[in-house]
């Protein structure tokens, strides 16, 4: 039977490998369900496009600059997270792991700050959620993504603490118990990674469908 939990456990520790498998597979399935949710929000946005009900439209409300910065921040954050995963895989030490996780967190927060600033600006221009169907759909879609990012940030914080408390290195740990806890931290960091990259993909969709489309159409 082929197994793909994604980490370097297979040759090292068969049992840990087997335990990681349903966790990662289950998380993929969860992401699939979450993706359905986003797909429906996209579809709702698509049907509401242009329904401005006399209010301001994309051209008046969206700004490409901040949206581009948000995109860059989120993509870089994903890159930093990727680095964290590699550091974990090759066991380059706690400090580097925390450094890259911290970088990912920081960039995530940058994204959120710009997004919130964006939202505030839209409200100021009379583009609140209650102004029109299109704006309702906009805030539902982009807001849901933002909420996901917020929870992702919280999760990164928790994982950083867990790295400190439990460690994420298998090599140096002595007892089986400690090893188990480190394994747990590792698979959690892996799953958080899936989540974090997943949010990138959704954002790319938002950037193209909402911002680029709205500003060019």
């Amino acid at each position: 039977m082929s197994r793909h939990p994604g980490l370097n456990l297979a040759h090292a520790d068969e049992k840990a490998h087997a335990e990681a498998e349903p966790l990662l597979f289950g998380f993929w399935v969860f992401l699939m369900s979450d993706l359905v949710l986003f797909a429906l929000l996209f579809a709702t946005y698509a049907t509401m496009m242009g329904v401005t009900a006399g209010g301001p439209g994309p051209k008046q409300l969206f700004e490409l600059g901040p949206a581009a910065i948000e995109t860059a921040a989120l993509l870089c954050s994903s890159l930093a997270y990727g680095m964290a995963t590699l550091v974990m895989k090759y066991e380059r030490g706690r400090v580097w792991l925390l450094f890259w996780l911290g970088a990912a967190l920081l960039l995530g927060l940058v994204f959120l700050c710009f997004e919130i600033d964006d939202f505030v600006g839209m409200f100021a221009k009379g583009g609140g959620i209650g102004r029109s169907g299109q704006l309702s759909a906009f805030f539902a879609l982009v807001g849901t993504h933002g909420l996901h990012v917020t929870f992702g940030c919280l999760w990164i914080v928790v994982m950083m603490i867990q790295v400190l408390v439990f460690g994420a290195e298998r090599r140096d740990n002595k007892t089986e118990r400690e090893r188990l806890l480190a394994d747990r931290v590792q698979t959690r960091i892996l799953r958080l990674g899936l989540f974090w990259h997943f949010l990138d993909i959704v954002w790319i969709g938002i950037f193209s469908v909402v911002y680029l489309q709205g500003l060019t159409a």
Binding site: P22, G26, M32, V36, T44, M48, I129, G130, Q134, Q162
Partner: protein, 685 residues
């Protein structure tokens, strides 16, 4: 904002207490008295501690399954009583307002529908799958035992909101589908739709998580050799249902969340003005709603498959075709949602496409019916209670399926949509389909779960009352629908309807008796438990792995994990003299420790839902924080499992094997006699 507003939101004494009708007051009192009685009894018999440590915090899939079923039975009782009240109203409301105010009647059909779907049917089938599926595939538990308990907590929280709404404030009057714009603030400014939104949202999140859990379990936890095509059919239906849950619950979550945004944030998704579009809601809702009916029926199909084969003493006929039919139904179920609104403005061609797609589902379903009939053909049939339910199902479900095909024709649908013809149709598939399946499952697996058989006579009484009650209550509705009686009608003025509504009321009375009979069935069986014990664990000469262990099974299910070489493994073992062997060695078994996370998240869900409903923001925020805090705290718990040492497993297993050696095997004719101690005479036929 005054302190009072801050503390209580829009909760005031006038808004809260159910004094708008004497009947509502009485119903609320019953709930309160019932809850108090439970509290008193638990205290009196000092059951709080065992309830908490052995049940509520248990992560054992078998206990979680049983709790789901208990929840379903409690909610069933309320929903049946409400149904009978509605039928009684229509029996007396010819040219008269009847005994129920229109607003109360509207709450009744809303709560009845919502409860039956989300808090009776869903928990019921989730409970049965939880109990039986891991045993059937040879697993020690589901993949994510903690998540399982969380799902139960969230579902129970939704159910609790339903019960609270009976006592504090009022429920939605918008029907189980909650269509806007009626459920928007403009037309329903009170708390009703908010209760509905949060109860349903909690339940749908719980079901999404359940779906993920079951699907992963089936993919990853099967015993060695248990290939997918060796799984019992019930597991296949559980798999398809889980996949449907994963994909079909999110649309519901989105629909209710967007409706909530309309109501709470002034958004314009489904409002009449501001660019809202109700068709979006209706599409989202039925994108969930149609797959939902297959989520409901597929597990019942699975139960019937097990029942037909066990009580005919034959392998299931056409196993592969049954699997493919199940898959086909699951896929097709996503392509037909539009038949719920043929009359809402799309062109004739679109309607035709969806009408044809709908009719196509009749094909795989027909395949199944023939497979079941052929399973019985030349079998050694015993008319045990589960088989009676299964036979009743085949006969009556065929009628319900046929009227479904009739409704799938857009031309006809234009005539009868929104009449009680539709009500007759969906009850015709839900009662003999889903509910009979679940009752059959209870009778079938109860001895496994509790170690004694249920009383046969009362089981038959339940069957007769529900069958007769169903026929009397719902066949007249076909006629009434054709005569034009709209659904959800509180009062009518056509004398021609009268005889039919009276017959239907008589049927409802039988159904009420049927409900009492369910209570008596369980009660009498518990009292006579010593006459019906089946410690050996195999009362029906079963074919699949769950029958190969003691009844009730040990917490870790299998002393040694079974090796599977083909379909109906346990029957193979019995025929080949390979059952009940003493394994050479045992190993340590790791099982999950109990956890309070599930109940805590349930409480958080209630706080959130109640706070949001009544605009008590501190409570809602508190609930949210509680849930986040609980999850984070749990992630720091170091010890989450415990080891059952191999020696202990050996002791328990050998004790049971020793007991087996003392039991006399029972033949099929003795199946319902006290001499059936759960050891079956292995004669294969």
């Amino acid at each position: 904002m005054t302190l009072n507003d801050w503390l209580f939101g829009r909760l005031t004494v006038q808004a809260a207490l159910p004094f708008y009708s004497a009947i509502a007051t009485a119903a609320a009192s019953i709930v309160v008295v019932g809850a108090l009685a439970v509290v008193v009894l638990l205290t009196k018999f000092r059951l709080w501690r065992p309830l908490w440590s052995e049940w509520l915090t248990s992560l054992d899939h078998k206990r979680i399954g049983i709790m789901y079923v208990v929840l379903a039975l409690v909610m069933l009782s309320r929903a049946v009583v409400e149904a009978v009240m509605m039928r009684a109203q229509q029996a007396v409301s010819y040219d008269s307002p009847g005994y129920l105010p229109a607003d109360h009647f509207a709450q009744l059909f809303t709560t009845h529908g919502t409860i039956m779907i989300f808090f009776m049917a869903m928990p019921f089938l989730t409970g049965i799958i939880n109990y039986a599926m891991p045993l059937q595939i040879g697993a020690r538990d589901v993949s994510f035992p903690l998540l399982n308990s969380v799902s139960l907590g969230l579902t129970a929280a939704g159910a609790a909101l339903m019960m609270i709404s009976l006592c504090i404030g009022r429920f939605s009057t918008g029907g189980w589908s909650g269509y806007p714009p009626f459920t928007e603030l403009a037309f329903s400014p009170d708390v009703g739709p908010d209760y509905w939104i949060w109860a349903v949202t909690l339940s749908s999140i719980g079901s999404t998580l359940t779906g993920i859990n079951f699907a992963v379990t089936i993919y990853k936890e099967r015993a060695p050799g248990m290939h997918l095509f060796r799984m019992p059919l019930f597991c296949w239906t559980a798999l398809c249902t889980s996949i449907l849950m994963i994909f079909a619950m999110p649309p519901l979550t989105v629909a209710t969340a967007l409706l909530a945004l309309d109501r709470y944030a002034g958004a314009h998704f489904f409002t009449n003005g501001g660019g809202g579009d109700v068709m979006n809601y209706i599409n989202l809702f039925w994108l969930f709603g149609h797959p939902e009916v297959y989520i409901l029926i597929l597990p019942a199909f699975g139960v019937y498959s097990e029942v037909f084969s066990t009580f005919s003493a034959k392998a299931l006929y056409g196993y592969r075709s049954l699997v493919y039919a199940t898959m086909a139904i699951a896929v097709l179920s996503f392509t037909v949602w539009l038949h719920h609104f043929f009359t809402m403005g799309q062109g004739a061609n679109v309607n035709a496409v969806f009408g044809i797609a709908t009719m196509l589902i009749g094909i795989p379903t027909g395949v199944k019916i023939y497979d079941w009939l052929l399973t019985m053909f030349r079998g050694r049939i015993r008319f045990a209670v589960p088989l009676l339910f299964a036979l009743g199902f085949i006969l009556m479900f065929a009628i319900g399926g046929m009227t479904g095909i009739i409704l799938a024709n857009p031309g006809i649908d234009y005539q009868v949509h929104n009449t009680v013809f539709l009500v007759a149709h969906f009850h015709n598939v839900l009662i003999p389909g889903l509910l009979f399946g679940m009752l059959a499952a209870v009778q079938y697996w109860f001895p496994k779960a509790f170690g004694f058989r249920l009383n046969e006579k009362w089981g038959r009484t339940v069957f007769v009352l529900w069958t007769a009650g169903f026929l009397f209550a719902f066949m007249p509705l076909y006629a009434l629908g054709l005569l034009g009686l709209p659904r959800r009608t509180v009062e009518y003025f056509q004398g021609a309807y009268r005889p039919w509504t009276l017959i239907a009321a008589f049927g409802a009375l039988l159904l009420l008796l049927g409900l009492f009979a369910v209570g008596a069935w369980l009660f009498v069986s518990v009292r006579q438990r010593d006459d019906n014990r089946v410690p050996a664990g195999d009362p029906w000469n079963g074919r699949t792995l769950e029958w190969s262990m003691s009844a009730p099974p040990p917490e870790y299910n299998f002393a040694v994990r079974p090796r599977v070489t083909g379909r109906d493994q346990f029957m193979r073992d019995k025929l080949g003299g390979m059952a009940y062997l003493r394994p050479d060695e045992y190993e340590d078994i790791e099982i999950p420790l109990g956890s309070a996370v599930g109940p805590l998240l349930g409480i958080a869900g209630i706080l959130c839902g109640f706070g949001l409903t009544w605009h008590i923001w501190w409570m809602a925020a508190g609930g949210l924080l509680l849930s986040i805090g609980t999850v984070i705290a749990r992630s720091f718990v170091r010890e989450t499992t415990r080891i059952v040492p191999a020696g202990e497993v050996r002791l328990q297993h050998e004790a049971w094997l020793g007991r087996l050696a003392m039991e006399r095997p029972a033949s099929r004719d003795q199946e319902i006699a006290p001499s059936n101690r759960g050891l079956a005479l292995a004669d294969g036929s």
